[in-house]
């Protein structure tokens, strides 16, 4: 069985700065992966390269054994990769419900039912007709999360899902991520909250200055010298 995602020698630079510098990683299906690193280490750029938002200068990306680099973001999304953004990108003047409905095709009734189910799951069913832009930061984050699920993607990239979400909801969110994994989804998440990363991820990749400097189970990573150096300096 081919890996869910295979990134090989990915490189992209902005001017003279290598934002992602020869990163390779392999995600096996049905697992939760973490992506950590100091600010500016290239985590979001890597997400953007995988999802086609940012051009890449070299390297290849394969999803379920099929090359996806060079495809448009919407084509990649339709192949089954869903993502959230670090800075929230809900559609502010669409209602919470409409935010989920936009991606659906076919039966309107079924689409509405599924959207309401997902909103109920994040306890936002009472706010379904509210403009997404009027919701709190945490609520918008949840709308964005369930919006990704509308397409039922097999690979989900989450950019700092825990930031700004309150403790109770965070537990629900993490449980949801685990349940997605149990259903065979692959998840890669960028997260600064180490407790979340340690409690959730089976394998962690560490980026620094656009390079992958470590990879392994969270326990090992925490004691890795290069990682400590990247975070705290020598």
């Amino acid at each position: 069985m081919s890996p869910a995602l295979e990134v090989e020698g990915l490189h992209t630079h902005f001017g003279g700065v290598s934002a992602v510098d020869g990163v390779s990683l392999v995600l096996e299906p049905g697992r939760i992966y973490g992506l950590i690193g100091p600010n500016g280490s290239g985590k979001t750029t890597l997400f953007n390269c995988i999802t086609g938002v940012e051009r890449r200068d070299a390297g290849r990306v394969a999803f379920n054994g099929q090359r996806i680099d060079g495809l448009k973001p919407w084509q990649i999304a339709r192949k089954g990769i869903g993502r959230t953004f670090q800075v929230i990108r809900v559609f502010p003047e669409l209602s919470a419900l409409e935010n989920l409905l936009v991606v659906t095709r076919g039966s309107r009734v079924a689409a509405r039912e599924r959207a309401l189910e997902l909103l109920t799951f994040v306890r936002l069913e009472g706010l379904r007709d509210e403009y997404a832009g009027n919701l709190s930061y945490g609520q918008q984050k949840l709308v964005e999360f369930v919006r990704v699920l509308m397409r039922d993607p097999s690979l989900i990239l989450l950019d700092e899902p825990a930031a700004g979400v309150n403790r109770t909801l965070l537990q629900d969110l993490l449980d949801a991520v685990r349940r997605l994994r149990d259903r065979g989804k692959t998840i890669l998440l960028v997260e600064h909250d180490m407790k979340v990363v340690m409690g959730l991820c089976e394998t962690v990749f560490v980026l620094d200055h656009g390079e992958k400097i470590a990879e392994g189970p969270p326990g090992t990573i925490q004691t890795d010298e290069r990682v400590i150096e990247a975070y705290f300096g020598r």
């Binding site: 448009k72 973001p73 999304a77 953004f85 990108r89 559609f91 003047e93 669409l94 936009v102 397409r151």
Partner: protein, 308 residues
Amino acid sequence: MSRRAGFLAALAAAAALLAVYPSVASGYGVRAGLQLFMWIALAGSWNIISGLTGYVSFGHVAFFGAGAYAAGILVVKSGWPWLPASLAGGVAACLLALVIGYPCLRLKGPYFAIAMLGLNEVVRALVSYFEGLTGGGNGLSLPTLDAAIPVYYVMGLTAAAVVALTYFVITSRFGLRLMTIREDEVAAEAMGIDTARHKLYAFLLSAVGPGIAGGLAARDQGYIEPVSVFPLATTITMIVMVLFGGKGTVWGPVLGAVVLFVFQELVWARFIYLHQLFFGAIIIAVVLLMPRGVLGLLQIRYRLPRTI
């Protein structure tokens, strides 16, 4: 539901009144009604591309002019009756939108607006250049024919069709997807929405109405020349009407067209220069005080449905 029934009844009554209006109105009255319909069709069409996707078209009058010339040429050179010629004007505008939409809709924000502005000048220059076909700067005279009343009806139907089209688009998921382009195009793409294709469809839909209206206006005026059918002022007026009434709403462009057109007709007659001053003042007031327009403001404040 009863509210909806009441609204539909009011709409039917308005349609009936407008249908019998020419039999009691003066020649001037019929022409004024016809022009009001034209403005509704133009503003409503601009709203479909710019109000929904946020891609501000500063050259939308190009479709009006293209429709006028296509219809005019078919009438004068090929002897077509004005009705099929006007519909062909809609087709011509649509083809123009297809040709220019493909490259131009890749441009974002102000670059698209400027490209559209340039496009209108290019089309106008082309029309002036091909004298053999278009009469160039001398214009094109259509055979004399008193068709004000039939043109009034067809223009009314065109306006109604544009409003109906807007209604169906806005209440559909296709319409929601157009709005996601306005809200956040990057996120829309990440959600699997083929934004390029959606923009192009919206652009094509927004060109048909002005094309037909241009053909009808050519018949009504009997004479067209490049400066009369490609004026930037027409685009500006469409934009102001939509901004005033409420962009992205179904009835906003209609409200804007009615209010501003009636206002213009009343003031125009008395204060030829002051009227432009009023118009400018309205633009500034709308942008400063209610950037969403009348209906947009009401929609947000009172959580009204998208069907307004």
